[in-house]
């Protein structure tokens, strides 16, 4: 028979979002918190991110991924948070029963009073972008290569081409160069960079790795192992121009072509999803459409800074604690946050005006295309602009954020929606 263990809050995923949520729930007064992760050690993908660049906002320090994770791991330990590692979650129900499986306890059911989903995201695969050609060994996602190199200590190739200018791809270009491999080029189908500009400078320019914008891979060649790829230019409609085809010999193709929030479990519970972010629709407490099911981190939408992931995880954990402490009103008033082109999405999609009494609300957005000139991001309540922020430029690879201060409480309370616009600054 299956035994049932009970916890106040169960957090799925021990990456930066999950750990922050767990620590925050505990600090906000819940008795027992359990974090479940499929990996052997806590820390999530941070453990394979041995490069620096983490923690500038939170700690004012430039830390490598594992060091950043370690700070939260230590805090989780001191808060006596239970960790259940090397464990897969098979199922979650809307009444908070979590079915897990691992080697030591087998398949078991755990009961929570609230749940925080923090499963992160996965990488888009070759099939999803449908690259034609053969199916040899040597086509990997950048994250798979990253784990092989940084965690397993194994080199999955000698001569690389990278498709996609996502951050992991660029960071791997540098890492592989440092390991003595050759990175022939990074190829990006869009006319602009997909990742952070700082990664372009530090990972490609500094290592003389060329970036080919408006180019893609049209074919993979090789029977047993990748032998070459066919690189082609695309026109402004992303249509392949066959006459520009160039065969680039290589033994490995890395894909850094986008991340997808990992929401199989979320969908199974029946949470309402946002088709654009690929994550759950949330309010600024990070509660989903199902009361007591909270979400945090890249499972909501793909962030570009871990510091924001931790901060939002902290928020989710805090409200998960409130939820079980019975000082929670699931019928609290929520108003929608609406974005206009060129903004592609905003998280949270709804805000609870009364929470402004306690703390400011940060809205995170992405644009659909780059605007390489000063712009103003403005927030309107019922046709009236209440605040704005100037950016020297906005790009799809870099999140745009704006904070609604506590001082806007009365204005927000009185309105039916908030609306965000981006306009060229004259």
């Amino acid at each position: 028979m299956l035994t049932v263990h009970a916890y106040d809050v169960i957090v799925i995923g021990s990456g930066p979002a999950g750990l922050a949520a767990a620590v925050s729930a505990k600090k906000n007064g819940v008795n027992s918190v359990l974090v479940i992760d499929r990996d052997v050690e806590p820390g999530g993908i941070l453990l394979q991110c041995v490069h620096s660049g983490f923690g500038l906002e939170t700690f004012g320090e430039d830390l490598p991924g594992p060091s950043y994770a370690q700070r939260y791991i230590l805090e989780a330990e001191s808060q006596k948070i239970n960790l259940l590692m090397d464990t897969m979650v098979l199922d979650i129900t809307s009444d908070f029963v979590v079915t897990v499986s691992n080697e030591t306890i087998g398949v078991q059911r755990l009961q929570a009073k609230a749940i925080v989903l923090a499963m992160g995201c996965r990488e888009r695969s070759r099939a999803q972008i449908r690259i034609p050609g053969t199916r040899p060994a040597g086509v990997y996602t950048a994250g798979t290569a990253q784990r092989w190199v940084n965690v397993e200590g194994l080199m999955p190739g000698k001569n690389f081409v990278i498709l996609g200018s996502g951050d992991i791809g660029m960071i791997m270009a540098r890492r592989l160069s440092l390991e003595g491999a050759r990175v022939n080029r990074v190829v990006e189908i869009m006319p602009y960079l997909n990742g952070l500009s700082r990664n372009y400078v530090q990972c490609l320019q500094d290592y003389d790795i060329p970036l080919f914008l408006n180019h893609t891979i049209n074919k993979i060649l090789g029977k047993k192992r990748v032998e070459a790829v066919e690189v082609v230019r695309v026109d402004q409609n992303r249509k392949v121009q066959p006459e520009t085809a160039e065969i680039i010999p290589c033994d490995t193709l890395l894909l850094s072509v986008g991340l997808i929030p990992e929401n199989e479990l979320t969908r199974k519970i029946g949470v309402s999803m946002d088709p654009i972010t690929g994550g759950a629709i949330v309010d600024n407490c990070f509660e989903t459409s199902i009361p007591g099911i909270f979400v945090a981190g890249n499972v909501v939408h793909v962030y570009d800074l871990v510091d924001y992931v931790s901060q939002d995880g902290t928020t989710a954990g805090k409200y998960a604690a409130s939820f079980i402490q019975c000082n929670w009103n699931s019928n609290r008033r929520k108003i929608p946050v609406i974005v206009e082109e060129p903004l592609r999405y905003v998280v949270p999609q709804k805000i609870c005006p009364d929470t402004l009494r306690e703390s400011a609300i940060r809205l995170l957005m992405r644009v659909s295309y780059p605007m390489e000139y000063p712009v103003q991001v403005s927030l309107f309540t019922d046709q009236k602009e209440i605040l704005n922020k100037t950016y020297p430029y906005v790009r799809p690879g870099e999140m745009v954020s704006i904070q609604i201060p506590k001082s806007a409480y009365d204005l927000i309370m009185a309105s039916q929606e908030v609306r965000l616009k981006v306009l060229r600054k004259e």
């Binding site: 098979l90 449908r130 034609p132 990997y140 092989w148 200590g153 080199m155």
Partner: protein
């Protein structure tokens, strides 16, 4: 030198089923295979359909063996313990013009001896397949058609053959025949000579080349015909049946079919290619699928794809031996006319899978007719059990399994819920899985949405450990497809 009674060239579904059928006799049998695993060619990339038999031209060997083969699948699935579902299939006529074709197909099927064929009205087919093209004018329903997993059938047959004494040798490529006085005495391979009395040519795409080595049928050629497929994410689209368009001179057309794993697949294309290894997916192929699939299910979208693949059909030009039928493209299954001790089965394209048990049966018959002494074993075991599959068990059953071997509690492939226990079991199975693809095909690990993004590293690690090899030796599908080149600098200098 090794010596056998029978050597079978090719460990595809035909070779393995033949080995399994022959294993009931007191014979020393060896199967040789140029790839690292069974079913590595056409048998792992096809539509996995057991056709009812209304499609082949009456009087052909294809028609006879399709219908006979179809009858054999229930018993085969029961004995070899693989998934087989007689779900039936539909041929949908779109527009009034195509409706006539259904009658012709039905008549043809009845001539071939296909039972239960029925023409369905517009209302009936719409009721059964609600998202079908609204211009549908009717459909032919064939209740005896079914689905299986071709690789699962192949490995099941191979394992049962192995249990009954058949030997397998992988990474071994046929080169030529050893002939004395017009009689086969053995074969030469890239790994040495093998003595034998009989050779069964089940070399699939290469059956013509093997045949030509014996000096037979110089006019017979296999021209590989590529079929490309897209596998859909079950969360995006599922169809609970097999749905064909009306066939044309180009073949059976682009169909939608469910698989035993719960995915829906669309395909195949049909394109002659020059190279017998050209299993590439092409831009034109994908475009063709995109266009063709709209005919049956308007709005079907290739963005639902989680994997695409292609396979090669071994299309031959054998003239039908029945002189009443004008058809070239039939199966060629016969004892060699110039040398003794050689049986060919060539040109085994669709409905080759459906016919495969009947082909194996026919090969046994040809051997017997040749006067070869075949004595049945007193203790032949026709049954083989599949190993446990975590995904299909109840939680209670899972815990029983985990109590015996804790590795069944550790999930390595999240999308398809495959455990380390299952992977280890396949590595130590009668026909061991020694590569990533071998594990993928046996367990279905890495076939889900993330396409190996999570499991690949872990499977390589498990293979390294279980086979006691270095990581550099672990491959995707045999020599030349290794994943890892070396250790990193730190690892090499021992700093880690």
């Amino acid at each position: 030198m090794d010596s056998y009674d029978v050597v079978i060239i090719g460990a595809g579904v035909v070779g393995c089923l033949t080995a399994r059928f022959l294993s009931r006799y007191q014979l020393r049998i060896l199967v040789i295979e140029k790839e690292s695993d069974v079913g590595a060619g056409t048998s792992s990339a096809n539509s996995a359909l057991i056709h009812a038999g209304y499609d082949p031209l009456p009087g052909t060997l294809k028609a006879a063996l399709n219908v006979r083969g179809n009858e054999m699948w229930d018993q085969l699935a029961d004995e070899l313990d693989f998934d087989f579902e007689r779900c039936g299939d539909y041929v949908a006529a779109i527009g009034e013009d195509e409706f006539q074709q259904l009658q012709i197909l039905k008549r043809q099927g009845e001539q071939n001896g296909v039972p239960g064929l029925k023409i369905l009205s517009v209302d009936e087919i719409r009721k059964r397949i609600p998202n079908i093209n609204p211009e549908v004018s009717g459909a032919l329903f064939a209740p005896t058609a079914g689905i299986c997993d071709t690789f699962a059938v192949t490995i099941a047959a191979a394992e049962n053959a192995q249990m009954n004494g058949v030997m397998f040798r992988f990474d071994t490529c046929f080169e030529s025949f050893l002939v004395e006085k017009h009689r086969i005495v053995g074969i030469r391979t890239d790994r040495g000579d093998i003595r034998c009395q009989w050779v069964i040519n089940a070399a699939g795409l290469y059956a013509d080349e093997v045949m030509h080595q014996a000096g037979s049928h110089p006019e017979f050629m296999i021209h590989p015909r590529r079929g490309e497929y897209c596998v859909f994410d079950p969360a995006c689209f599922q169809i609970d049946t097999v749905l064909f368009p009306v066939p044309s001179e180009k073949g059976k057309g682009v169909l939608f079919f469910k698989t035993t794993h719960g995915n829906t697949i669309v395909g195949p294309t049909s394109e002659f290619v020059d190279c017998k290894e050209d299993k590439a997916v092409s831009v034109t192929g994908l475009r063709y699928l995109e266009e063709q699939m709209q005919r049956l299910i308007p709005g079907a979208d290739l963005r639902w794809t989680i994997a695409s693949f292609s396979g090669l059909r071994a299309s031959g030009n054998a003239i039908c031996t029945n002189s009443d039928v004008d058809y070239s493209g039939d199966f060629l299954i016969e004892s060699d006319k110039t040398v003794k001790g050689l049986i060919h089965c060539a040109g085994i394209e669709s409905p080759g899978l459906s016919a495969s048990p009947a082909i194996a049966e026919r090969i046994c018959l040809l051997l017997e007719q040749s006067g070869f002494e075949m004595i049945e074993k007193p203790y032949w075991n026709p049954r083989r059990k599949r190993r446990p599959c975590f995904r299909h068990l109840t939680n209670e059953e899972r815990n029983e399994l985990i109590a015996q071997d804790p590795r069944y509690g550790r999930i390595v492939c999240r999308c398809e819920m495959v455990t380390e226990g299952e992977i280890a079991a396949e590595i130590h199975a009668p026909i061991p899985a020694r590569t990533y693809d071998a594990i993928k095909r046996r367990t279905w690990c890495g076939t889900g949405r993330c396409q190996g993004g999570f499991d690949m590293i872990r499977v390589v690690e498990i293979l390294t450990r279980e086979l006691n090899l270095s990581s550099e030796k672990i491959s995707k599908n045999g020599p030349g497809s290794e994943f890892i080149f070396s250790e990193t600098k730190n690892q090499r200098s021992g700093q880690c």
